[in-house]
Each structure stands twice: as C-alpha cells, then as structure tokens.
Amino acid sequence: MIADDDEKWLAAAIAAVKQNAFYMQRAIDSNNLKDALKFSAQMLSELRTSKLSPHKYYELYMRVFNELGTLEIFFKEETGRGCSIAELYELVQHAGNILPRLYLLCTIGSVYIKSKDVTTTDILKDLVEMCRAVQHPLRGLFLRSYLAQVTRDKLPCIGSELEGDGDAHMDALEFVLQNFTEMNKLWVRMQHQGPSREKEKREKERNELRDLVGKNLHVLSQLEGVDLGIYRDTVLPRILEQVVNCKDELAQCYLMDCIIQVFPDDFHLQTLDVLLGACPQLQPSVDIKTVLSGLMERLSNYAASSVEALPNFLQVEAFSKFNYAIGKVVEAQVDLPAAGSVTLYLFLLKFTLHVYSDRLDYVDQVLGSCVTQLSATGKLCDDKAAKQIVAFLSAPLEKYNNVVTILKLTNYPQVMEYLDHETNKAMAIIIVQSVLKNNTHITTADEVDALFELAKGLIKDFDGKIDNEIDEEDFQEEQNLVARLVHKLYNDDPEEMSKIIFTVRKHILTGGPKRLPLTIPPLVFSALKLIRRLRGGDENPFGDDASATPKKILQLLSETVEALSDVSAPDVALRLYLQCAQAANDCELETVTYEFFTKAYLLYEEEISDSKAQVTALHLIIGTLQRMRVFNVENRDTLTHKATGYSARLLRKPDQCRAIYECAHLFWADEGENLKDGERVVLCLKRAQRIADAVQKMANASRGTSSTGSVALYVELLNKYLYFLEKGNSEVTGDTIQSLAELVRSETKKVESGAESFINSTLRYIEFQRQQDGMSEKYEKIKMEWFE
C-alpha cells in the first residue's frame, strides 16, 4: 500500500518535473531569464516533497539533476551575453523557497567559480554555509551532494588553473571537509525521522545513501595538494572527529572503512596511531574487526606489493601500534564476544605474518595478547569463536609451513589451552597434517615433546572422559595420523633419536586403551629401526652408559608393549614381542630375546583364547623362533618344546597337524650345523601324519562332511618331506614318502577330494626336480609309480 503510494507520488513528481523542465527549456531557448528561473524553481520545488522514500527520492533527484545541467549551460551563456554573474547570483536568491533557492545558488555558484570573477574560496564558503539552511536530513543530504557534485571539478588545487592564492587548496579542503561533516550529521540524523517501529527499514534505506557521504572522502583523496602533512594535521583529525562524535554505528562503520579504502597506504602507515586511536572511541556495536581487518589487509597488500615500503613499517612500529590498539579496543568494548576479539587477533596475526614474516617474536606477542584476552573469558564454547581460533592458530602454520617454527612460539600451546576438546582435537589434527604434508623434519626430543604437547587432543582423552559418540572410522583415521607422525620423527644421531623415542613413548602411553593398540606399533617399529641402525654402526660410540644402547631400548619396548597387554590387545602385543625378540636376536642379546619369548608365550597362554587367533599366534611364534640364533641349546629346547606342546593342544585336528609339521622347522635351521636335528624333524612330521590319520578316520566316520581335509594335509606333509629331503635330511626315507603317496592315492580314489590340482602340481614339481642336476640324486629315493 505504502509502496504503491510511493510510486504514485513519484510519478506525479516526475510529471511535474518534466513539465516545468519543458517550460524552462522553452524559456532558455527564447533567452528569457526570468521565466527560466521561475520554471526551474518550480521544477526544483518538487524536491521539497517529504513523501518519497530515499530510494524514490534519489530517482527524482537524478531527473532534476539532469535538467539542471541545461540550466548551468544557460547561465554560462547568459553571462557571455553581458548579464553580470553577480547579479545572477543575487537573482536566484530571490526565490522564496529555500530548497529551489539553494539548488539554483549551487548551480550558478559553480558557474561563478568558473568565471574566475571572484575568488573561488568566497563562493565555496558561501555555498557551503548557505546550505546549512536545509536541515531536513534527506533533502539536505541530496542538496549537499549536489553541491559536491557541481563543484567537484572546480575545486582549486595546486597547479590547477583555478588556483588563487597559496591557501586556495586549503580552502578547498576546508570546503569539502565542512560539506562532509554536515552531510554526515544529516545522514546520522536520518535514523530519528519518523516512527520508531520503522526504524529497521529506515536504517536500511539510510545505508543505501551512504555513498553520498562517502563520496566526499573520495573527493578529499583526489584533491591535489593534500600531502601527508596536510592529511595528518588536518584531514584525518577532522574526519575522525566527525566520525567519533557522530556516535552512530552505521556511519562509523562505513566511514572508517571509507577512510581506509580511499586514502593511500602510505598515509595510513604514517598516521597509524591516529587512525587506530579512534577505534576504541567508536560505538561498542561497531564491527571494529571488519574495520581493522580492512586496514591490516590493505597494509599487508601494500607491504607485499612494494619492498621499499617495508622499512616504513618498521620505522612506524606498525606492529606494536596495532597490537596496542587492538588491546584497547577489546578493553573498551566490554560486550565484544570472544569470537570478535579472536577475529581481531586473527587479522593482526595475518598482518604480522605478512609484513613481519621474520619476526617470530611479534607472532608470539600476538598469541600472548590473545592468551591474555582469553584468560578473561575462559574456555571458548561457541562455534564461531572456535572456528575463528582454529583459523587463528592455523595462520602461522600456513605461513611458515613448518611446525618447528610454531614450536618456538611459547604462547601457542597456551592458546590451545583455551580450546574446548573438540576444537583442540581439530587443531591437533591440523598441526599433525601440516607436519605430514610438508614433510617437516622434527629432529630433537624437545621439539617432539612440544609437538606432542600441542597435539594432545589426539594423543589422549581429556579429563578421563571418553566420548562414546566418536565415529570409529574417524577415530582410526585420527590415530592413523598420529602413527604417521611417529614415523616422521627422525634424527641421524642415535642418541637424540632415542631421546625422541623416549619422549614419544611418554606421550603415547597416556593415550588410554582405545589408542594404545593403534599408536604403540609405530613407536615400536620406529624404535626397532633405531636398533637396527645401532647394530649397523658396529660399535656403540657412547659406551654402555649411553641411553641409546639396543639393550636399553629393548628394555623400554618391553615395558611399552606390556602396556598393550593391559588394554586387551594381546594379539598386537604378541606380534610386537616377537618383533622385539627378533631385533634382540639380531643384537645377540640372548637373555633379552628369551625374555621377549617368555612374554609372548605368557600372552599366548593367558590372553589368547580364541582358537583362530591361537593358530595365527602360534604360527607367528614358530616362524620367529625358527629364525632365532642366539639361544643356547637349553633355552632353545625349552622354547621349542613349549611351541610343540602348544601345537598339540590346538582345538582342531587339522590345525594341530599343521602346527606340528611347522614345528619340524624348529629343528632344522639352514645356517647352523648344530641345529640340524633330522631325527626330530621326522619325528614331528610323523606325529603330524598321525594326526592327519586321525583326521581321516574322523572323516571316514562322518563321510560327506570334511572329507577333503585329510587329503590336503597329506599332500602338505608330502611337501614338507620333500622340503627336508631337498635340504639333505638323511632321516627322510623313501619308505615314508611311499607310504604317504599311497595314502594320498587311496584317499583320492575313495572320494572326490578337491585337492587334485594341489597333488598334480606337487607331482609336476617332483618330476621337475628329478631332472635337476643337484637334486636328481636326492630324488632317486622317490619312485613316480607310487603315485599312479
């Protein structure tokens, strides 16, 4: 409804403008000054309306503005025809209504200036003074905007043809400043016009008009003769005075931004303290962070674009000024939400990183300031603040791409203290990812310590609270990162590397039952890698008291892995023990190796109850044990015996069978002559065969269910025999193989075994080996007809 009326009024006003403009044009064509003035005044009277919204008023204004162009030209011609411009200047002031009068005055004023009959300054002063008469915000704003528009290209400045005396440009400056001040006042006042319930709408409309005010600042920046001195001593203080005094959120926000955008970077840099000094004086609701961030961004770009500017930054101590100003702002604006203050620091940090990339102490200072601020607010809880702080903390990471640099920032971990768990974890992930992505070398234990301190969010639970809602996959992914991180830590110096391992261990052990199975393996392997390195370096340069002896590390690992068995991850622990045992074996530390085996056996006995797991574990034990070379006969016997015993006690017969024939390897090692006990090998195989027989019997008893098992077992056994035959075990006789061959034959005849291909390839192998040079004599024992 209101909008409709708006349209209607606008249409009516435009029609009237058109009509009067037409008459005015006709009067101009016939050189009738009096009528031209009369109709132009009537046309301008349409601008006296109070009915239009700012938007529509602007439309109307533009129409009138175009018409006034013709009038200006007419005035110019009129003066050419001998009409005194001073008379014209008076004549237009006879108009009874103020608004048309002032529009006409501005129009003729601009002609007056051009004519150079009088000093420009006098006219400018007069115009800007007379315009005070329009106090209606909207109309005044447009009038002054018109004034600014028509005088814009006529302002005196150094070097311009209109230059009067030396002070002319100062007067021009004064003129623009005054017009700006008045316009801003009017603009600010707009919000109080009309009922308060429409305030929001009005503010929106008001915002649309802001460029009218801002244009003045633009004009100021374009004025020639405004050098740094003038800017610092006159322009800026005057603008800021107005900005601060108007006490209006919208205006302050917009104008601060305007100042930052229209004036040159160098000016800002040199007047930084003045500009920043104004910030704490702004209204609390002003979005200072946007303002300051705009400034800092601009200066950052400035610094980036010209190298010569950098010394200036140092000279004016831009950093400390910003830091101080932000502190002041935060102090002044008590209601500033944490997110706001963090954002401020974020921008300061970005600025610092841009401009003073080599000044870590500055970066640290920013962090310190932020800590101080946060200490007042406590832990951050809202999402927005968290997001900002993540950005805040990520900024240096992105800049330096090197976590080691970050670790030098003493305040960095302190900031992280204020994060909630979620955010802290997120941040930890970012840090770790940065390490991984940039392939950062972290080479000292101290750095590692600091890094893990930072990545705490990933390493351990907070306050013992375990969040059950965590997605398992995500969790694994996170821990995967930790694992990758552990592998990244490396130092050529074994001494330092061992320290690193000690440190990592310290942190990882705090991880709790969910993490340990995922994080200990990388640690163990990293340590084993070191041990291998130490062994490779023949002698230990540090002597026995150094921490980096394999023994000590193994000792540590033993303790570390034990932690795993406590958190019900026995299979992992078992594997790790075996790995350690292998390493110990390589270092020829018999007791240590034995110790590891003992632990592995204990785990097997006590913790591993699932039969499938048992089978796997047992195979691992056997495999590892087979390769052990350090043991004396006694120890070896004990362990071998145990392993064989376990094998016999497996639940399923086929498993027993397989485990036992694997055990046969324990008595036969290729390298050591003393470890070739052919007799016991065959004993094991025989025992396995007996079990296979039992399996077969059971199969026959319940035909149809697991018939194939025994055949496969026989073939496997056959293969084992062949293996040991090839290895030169004299106890493997033709008889044994023959009987086995018969068994296989009879079994395959009885039933479709499904093992044909296995048998066939075994046969092909035998055939092949018989023809080989080295093997043919060993294979003489075997007759191919046994298998047919």
Binding site: H94, G96, I98, L99, R132, Q135, H136
Partner: protein, 303 residues
Amino acid sequence: MNYLLGAFKPACNISITFTDGKNRKQVPIKKDNGQIVMNPLFQSQETIAGKINIEPYQGKKVEHNGVKVELLGQIEMYHDRGNFYDFTSLVREIDVPGEIYERKTYPFEFSSVEMPYETFNGVNVRLRYVLKVTVTRGYAGSIVEYQDFVVRNYVPPPPINNSIKMEVGIEDCLHIEFEYNKSKYHLKDVILGKIYFLLVRIKIKNMDLEIRRRESTGAGANTHVETETLAKFELMDGAPVRGESIPVRVFLTPYDLTPTHHNINNKFSVKYYLNLVLVDEEDRRYFKQQEITLYRLKEETLS
C-alpha cells in the same frame, strides 16, 4: 446623435507636460481601478515646471473666468471616502478671464516645492501629489484636468545602525537567538543574519522570515490598523538540532517596499516588521516580530 454627443463633450482638451518630461524617470503607480500607469518622479525641493495646453474642440470657443494650476499634496483615507486633506496647496493663476478660440499654451513653474512626504498607496490610505488645472466657468461648470506625479525622498544612511540581536524562547521547548545585521535597511538592502538554535525540543518543519507592513490610519478611537505580509521567505527546511546556526540572507529588491513613515501629517503611519516564524510538524506557529526601519537611500550612494 453626433450633435447631441458633441453637446456633452468638454469644450476643450487640456494637457499638461513637464519641462523635462522626456528624460525624467517614470515610475509605475496603481490607480484606483487597478490600472498601472507611469508617472514622472520628483523629489522634495525640486522645481516643477512645464506647459499647459488648452485646445478647444474644432469650431468651439471656451469662455472662462480664468485659468489656474494648483499643486496639491493630498492624503485620502479610504474609510473616510471622498475626504481629502491637502497638506500642500500651491496655486498659480495662468490666465485672466477671457475666451480661448484656439490652442493656447501656458508655461507654469513651482520652484523649489517643499514636498516632505512620499507618494504612498496603502490599504486604507493614499498620499498623492497632483497638478490640477482648472478652467473656471460660470454656469457651464469648470473644466478640470489632473496630472499625478510621484514624489520620493532620499535620505543619507543613518549614522547609527545597530544590529538586532535577541534571545527568545519557550521554556524547555525552544530557545533561539537571532541576529539581523542592522535595524535600518534601505530599500535595496540585504538582510543578513543568523538564527542560532540553543534548544530544540519541538519538531520544526520549517522556518520563514516574513516582511510585514503595518499601516495605521486615523487617530485616537478612529485608528485603523492594517497589517500586510509583503514577503514570505523560507529560511530553513527541516528540523535543526541544538547548536545549529542557520544563515539569513534576504534581498529586499524583489519586494514592493516603501520607507517607514512616521505619523504623516497626523494622519497615518507605516511601519515594517521582520517576523520570524517557526512552524512545527503539527503546523503550530512560533514567531517573533521585530521592527525594522526602511529608508530610501540616495541612488548615487548605492555602491
């Protein structure tokens, strides 16, 4: 019919011309019927001289008991219609009784006539100067011809001309201070000034400056006062805030003003006032009226 018409026609045509009539400045004067005619302009102490032509109509003769010319300064009160008060009356006999057969020209001269008052056309009163030529006849009735002329008197700028400065207001509502640069303005002057808002608690819509003329006629119980607003000049649009000062600049040229007249011949006075009017959004008017003196400045001293 022609004959009859001819019978009622005046017997002769009288015309009055001034000596320097071609060069003398003419000013427009509104006559009773609203017509505007141009009349020659004189000032006090000038010699008013010229010629009077009397031209009988074709074939007629004018018999008379003498011809005279009078210079009259008259004040006419409209509510007292028909009554003229002559404050100046000078007579010149220009012919002795006789007969006029053909066109006859008489020169006349009133030297250095004292004309203290200016020609004035008001609402209720008129002050005029007129030359009256009378051809006196016996029974046929005298033939009379009038010629108006205008008198304007110029004065030098007043030695003392203080500004008008005043603080006015309504308690807790509106306080303003206004200043007009002079208290005496000549007719082509400019009023300069400032309105300073000390306190504004009402929503002002606009502010005007009115120029008002107050014409009072008669004396005592018969005094008639008529006030006219001659100019309404908008000074301000919209509501000012505290501390705002609004410039005043009013050119008097476009308005039809006269000098201030004080008690002219005990018959009338004309006074001028500046009336500052503030109108609020509910169209209530707040005003303050200040008398100013208007005077006619000698042309050559106008810069």
